[in-house]
Each structure stands twice: as C-alpha cells, then as structure tokens.
C-alpha cells in the first residue's frame, strides 16, 4: 500500500491524536535522544524515536498497536532531555489511552493490571495489595506470580490483611465516576 493510502486510512486517528495530545510532533527532528536515554529501550519492539516518527507520518494505527507504548515506564526522561521541547512521554500516554479506546492493546497484561488497580480504587478508595496481586493473577492467568512473596510479605509484616474501607466511599466513588465520565466525554483531551 502506498504511503498516501496509509495516511488516508489514518486521517481520523491523526486528528484524534492531535486533539487528545496537543503535542506538536512536527518539531521532532529525529535525533534519537529519547530512545538513547530510555530505560526500557532495549525491550521495546519499536524504539521511542520511531514511535515519534510514526506519529509524525500520521501512521497512528501502527504506533497504537505497538507494545512499546505499554512498556514505557512514564519516567519522563525523554521529555526532560528532548532538545526540541517535545513532550514525548505525553505522546506515549495519549497513544496508550487511544489504544485502549480503540481496542488494540498489545500488552494485555499491563493493561489488565491497571484495570484491576482502578477497580480496587472504585471499591475502596485506597490500594489493597493482596487484592491487586490476586486480581491481577486472575485476569492475566499467571495464577502464581508473586504469590511467593505473600508469605515473606507477611513474615516481614508488610501486608495489611484487611482492606481499608473509607467512611466516605460514596464521595470517592462519585468523584471517580464523574472524572471518568469527563474523560470519556472529552476523549482525554488536554
């Protein structure tokens, strides 16, 4: 397929990306400093600078389907050192949010981890580690991952066994729902 056809296909995604991220990717001149300093760089299927290039060329679908955007640890080193002032980390973040909305998440387990986390927040307002570990393992299918830490955690008196239940859980729930509704409404635009 020719480039212009591919770009044509991506037209809607491109404008959605622009609206949601507010980042001017045309500034990027492909120096590679983002990839060079990325702590997850050697695990990414597509290096950060090439993600930027895909976005710059308007090939949002490819960028969105990469596993790289999920491996990004949000450490913001790329943005901090970018000589052109491009918020690279925010580009990655926007792509993650878009991948979720467009149902093309490459790293299902990472996504599920965040889902479990948010579900616990919904219910309790605070984190509850045993719930997180068990919940994550249930959805990812790695039933025994990190369970070996359960006992030592307890031995080191590090896990609270009973979850905290807020007195104002209704307030927190309302707040979360409202915020999520707003995010849906605006498509996460910044």
């Amino acid at each position: 397929m020719t480039l212009n056809e591919r770009q044509q296909q991506n037209e809607a995604l491109r404008s959605e990306f622009l609206r949601r991220s507010g980042v001017d990717v045309s500034k990027c001149y492909q120096c590679g400093k983002c990839s060079a300093g990325c702590p997850v760089g050697d695990h990414m299927d597509i290096p950060t600078n090439k993600i930027m290039r895909l976005v710059q060329m308007g090939l949002i679908d490819e960028a969105m389907q990469s596993s790289a955007i999920w491996l990004c640890a949000s450490c913001v080193t790329c943005t901090t050192r970018c000589p052109k002032g491009v918020d690279v980390a925010h580009v990655m973040e926007t792509l993650r949010q878009m991948a979720k909305d467009h149902n093309c998440v490459a790293e299902k387990n990472i996504d599920k981890f965040h889902t479990v986390w948010m579900n616990i927040l919904h219910k309790m307002g605070r984190m509850y580690e045993p719930g997180l570990i068990v919940g994550r393992n249930m959805v990812t299918g790695n039933i025994f991952q990190d369970t070996s830490f359960g006992v030592p955690y307890l031995a080191h008196r590090k896990l609270k066994l009973m979850p905290y239940k807020s007195n104002n859980i209704d307030e927190i729930k309302r707040m979360i729902e409202k915020a999520e509704a707003m995010d849906r409404e605006e498509g996460g635009a910044r």
Partner: protein
C-alpha cells in the same frame, strides 16, 4: 512546623518502614505531621493511563482537604508527590482546570495548599544543619549511594530537586556522617509497576541499578520512594533465581536519619526489610569500635 500528611497506599503496606520512620523522625526533628483524614489513593501509575481528569481528580481531593485546613501537604512517597504536585500546578495555572476539578471532587481547591516532598521539607525547610545537630550516632564510614528514581526529579516543572543531579538525599546523608558515593544511576528508572506486570522487563531495569551499585562499592542504597524501595529490596530474591545474587540493603532516607538520631531499628521498621541490614549495622558498630580504639591508642601515646 505543621504540615498535613499524606502517606499514600504503599506506606500502609509494602513501604510501611517509610511510614514508621517518617513519623518517628519528623517528631524528633520538631516537624508536626497531621494525617489527612480519610485520604484516598493518588491514582499512582494507573490512573494516568486511563485519563487526564481521573489522574487529576484523585490527588485533588486530598489536596482540597488539606487546603481547607490551610496546610501544605508533606508527602514521603515520590509517586504520590508527583501526582499531587501535578494537580496543584495545573489548578493554580488554569482557572478552567480549577473549575472542572472543583466540579468533579465537589470541594473547593485553589491550588494554594502546596504538595511538598518530605525529603525536600527536611532538606530545604528544616535544613541539614538542624538534622546534623541532632545526630548522636554518626554514620561515619558507611558508603552509601543515593537513589532518587524518576518522580522526585521529573518532569522538571514538578521536580523538587535538580533534574539531572539531585542533591537533597546526598546532603542529608553527608550531614549524618555517611560517605556518599557518586554514580550514574541517581535518576534512572527502577521499572516502576513493570516489575509487577512485565517482570522480565522490570527485573532487567532493577538489575542494572543493583549491578551499578555493587560496582560502585556501596554498602547500601538510600532512597525516598516506596516503589523504588520495594523493587530494589524485594526483587533481589527474584533476581537470585536467575543466578544474580545480590545482597544490597536498601534504606529509606528517614530510616537512615532515625538510625543516626539513635532510634531503635524496630521503631523505624528497619527489621522489616527483605534484604537483611545486619551487615550495615555491623559495619557501623565496627567503625565505632575502631574509632574508640584509635582514640584510646592516641591517648596512650600522648
């Protein structure tokens, strides 16, 4: 010195040592921490992957409660700090954002109550001289590496220290008498939540940091982030399964201050680490003995 106190979820569980030591040390140093009643999770590394407003709203509620009490918020956890700082900055810069946030959380928040990193409070508000003055058991002879991770220094507009070469932990450790070594990993990422959901990737990142720490000849690492702490401390056992045997104790800055102020390990939570801290304790004691011996010898000669 009064501050509202936001411990965050980790400090109730995997980072409970930070909680214990922070409370003990601040009390001894005359800093009054008032825990925010019924605080909620800041959203940590998950909320911001879901949406902008949810990532701002969660910390905003805690900040609003503190603002009602006219207090700045002391936050030990680097991640909670970064999330809370983000909403403070965005709300104080844009009336539009403020209106939306207030609508979502149903409370007023003008961004007047500031998110403050606890380490920064100790370093800047209190000052290392005041800490040094209270030291009864100097950490002389201890070779430490300071590790800041991502969230104390990045992004630069939220940072509470220099973005590439932060110094607050270094200066506090020096005030405690420790020998602070230099390395290139002060602000490298430990892997964050990746160790939990993509263990291979996350462990690889943790491993690089531990390798560098061994190479630098450190006795221990000092940090101010519960996520970094649990990755570096707890994951050493997992790395051992892949034939990478480390024994690198990892301390919270407040634990170190507590030890230098003569507090008991148990009261600071030092006994709860995965990697035993005995060697560090022994080294401190040995050094102490040596110094006493030296003094006695010198006295004899004179």
């Amino acid at each position: 010195m009064d501050y509202a106190y936001f411990p965050g979820c980790s400090l109730e569980s995997t980072g409970i040592e930070f909680h214990m030591s922070a409370k003990a040390v601040t009390k001894a140093l005359g800093i009054n921490l008032i825990e925010i009643p019924d605080w909620n999770c800041c959203g940590a590394s998950s909320a911001h992957t879901r949406g902008h407003w949810i990532s701002l709203a969660l910390p905003a509620r805690n900040m609003a409660i503190a603002e009602a009490a006219k207090l700045d918020v002391a936050i030990p956890c680097a991640a909670c700090y970064a999330r809370s700082k983000q909403v403070e900055v965005e709300v104080s810069q844009s009336a539009e954002t403020r209106a939306k946030i207030e609508e979502i959380i149903g409370r007023p928040y003008k961004g007047e109550s500031k998110a403050r990193n606890l380490t920064d409070i100790l370093y800047r508000d209190l000052g290392v001289d005041k800490i040094a003055a209270k030291v009864v058991r100097p950490l002389d002879g201890l070779n430490v590496l300071t590790y800041y991770g991502c969230l104390m220094t990045r992004p630069p507009e939220l940072a509470c220290d220099d973005v590439e070469d932060p110094v607050s932990l270094d200066e506090i450790m020096k005030a405690l008498g420790a020998n602070v070594l230099q390395w290139g990993f002060k602000t490298e990422c430990c892997g964050g939540s990746l160790t939990a959901c993509r263990p291979k990737v996350g462990l690889d990142m943790t491993q690089k940091i531990l390798d560098a720490a061994i190479k630098a000849g450190a006795d221990c690492i000092v940090t101010a982030c519960p996520m970094c702490h649990s990755n570096l401390d707890m994951r050493q056992a997992q790395l051992a399964k892949h034939d990478h045997n480390y024994h690198m104790p990892v301390f919270f800055i407040t634990e170190m201050i507590g030890l230098a102020l003569g507090m008991k390990q148990k009261d600071l939570g030092v006994d709860r680490h995965f990697i035993a801290t005995e060697e560090v304790m022994c080294k401190l004691e040995e050094y102490e003995q040596e110094q006493i011996q030296k003094m006695m010898n010198e006295g004899g000669e004179a």
